[in-house]
Symmetry: C2
Subunit: 248 residues, 2 copies
């Protein structure tokens, strides 16, 4: 159970810096095949089913042979993620920063819908691979022509990404408990039976949702960004043109 965490080794594995071994018998598979097998297990049987034993069996190997490909389960998870996120989205089809971010959100949501276990596994302090890193890079490009600070652009990208993650149906986290999942009907019942203590939540439960929470949040978020961007543009137009708009 002890954590087998070697971030440096993981980085070398993900970014293709592993020296290929030439001596000895050729391995029966390569890393891509191992990753695909793990992804297949997760897609069909859920993330909980992904064990060293199960993935090895999927390849026709014993558990221990799998340890020759990855140093441990953390490395297996890492190459799973990298294989599942796929290529970063193409945002060149639209023009404005807002529509670009909307397209980014749509593609991100679609990727997580293809592999519903992704939000659960892409959590915590970890080393990301080149494919996964490409996503925020593309999102940053959407804000390139914007008066936002570089740091603010990254914050904005994370804001959008986290929102999509948080509102993902299979990622029901925290306060979202009453919208989906098997615990939802129980929470509804508890709230209605304790309507005196939780009047606002209880009444909200009784009303069916019109628009999706994901759309509302994304709209709100982009409205907020637009507010800041318009304000910055106006200010930099009034004052003597400054190349980099900085807050006081």
């Amino acid at each position: 159970m002890s954590a087998n965490e070697d971030p440096m080794a993981l980085a070398e594995l993900l970014w293709g810096l592993r020296k290929p071994r030439t001596r000895g018998p050729r391995p029966a598979f390569d890393l891509a095949q191992v990753a695909d097998a793990a992804v297949k297990v997760a897609d069909t049987e859920g993330l909980e089913a992904v064990s060293m034993h199960r993935v090895a069996a999927e390849l026709g190997l014993t558990k221990m042979a799998l340890y020759r490909y990855v140093n441990g389960k953390s490395e297996l998870s890492a190459i799973m993620i990298e294989a599942a996120v796929g290529t970063p989205p193409d945002l060149s089809g639209v023009t404005s920063w807002r529509t670009k971010l909307e397209e980014y959100a749509r593609q991100l949501s679609a990727a997580w819908r293809r592999h519903p276990w992704l939000p659960s596994i892409t959590v915590g302090d970890r080393v990301m691979g080149p494919c996964e890193t490409g996503w925020p890079e593309r999102a940053l490009s959407a804000l390139a022509d914007t008066p936002l600070t570089e740091r603010e652009r990254l914050d904005a990208v994370m804001l959008v990404s986290h929102h999509i993650r948080a509102t993902h149906p299979a990622a029901t986290q925290g306060t979202q408990t009453w919208t989906d999942g098997s615990a939802a009907p129980i929470m509804r019942d508890l709230l209605l039976r304790n309507a005196d203590r939780f009047p606002l939540l209880a009444t909200t439960m009784a009303i069916p949702s019109a628009t999706t929470t994901q759309e509302f949040g994304l709209h709100t978020l982009l409205d907020g960004l637009e507010h800041t961007i318009i304000q910055r543009t106006r200010n930099s137009g009034d004052e003597s043109a400054a190349s980099s708009p900085a807050p006081p």
Copy 2:
């Protein structure tokens, strides 16, 4: 390892619907003491250290005695959360919906700072206890005098809550990898060495952050809400006053 999930039993435990047992010897502790012991272990040794064995030892019991208090680890986690979140925040000190939500965010962030393991454990489809449920209830009250739909108010509350969770230092999730944690320096190094493929991320890495990402996101988010609220107020003022503002 099989999931010991009985949401109904969990609900009865959390909401005080367990019939008190009178026959037989009196238990050495009550649920609150068990929860406090688990919280203490998590606070001092981390969430990973919280095992049935460890918590039982904290109470001076064996592992199996603990199973008389909770049906399994999921129930232990549930009462841990309920004990750690504490009482919901008091937002009566401020007036406007915006300052109320800001105060709510501040209090939520403080609670998670007191127990850094809370963001990691309050995840997934689950039944919440009355204390934890009180938090969104209070947040909803902040938006009571607002032209937002009831559903939109809940969405807004979740938006704020999720943002605080996502930007919590100990909750480093997904795209936030490069801001904190032990993997951060490795990611920085990888990005700088691959600056040709990730120019935007690489340059952003070189710049120290001025304002915190949590503040920026919260501001952006509240700006977006304010935009919608102002727009709604204006519309309902122009048209013949409608009691419940509804989108087209």
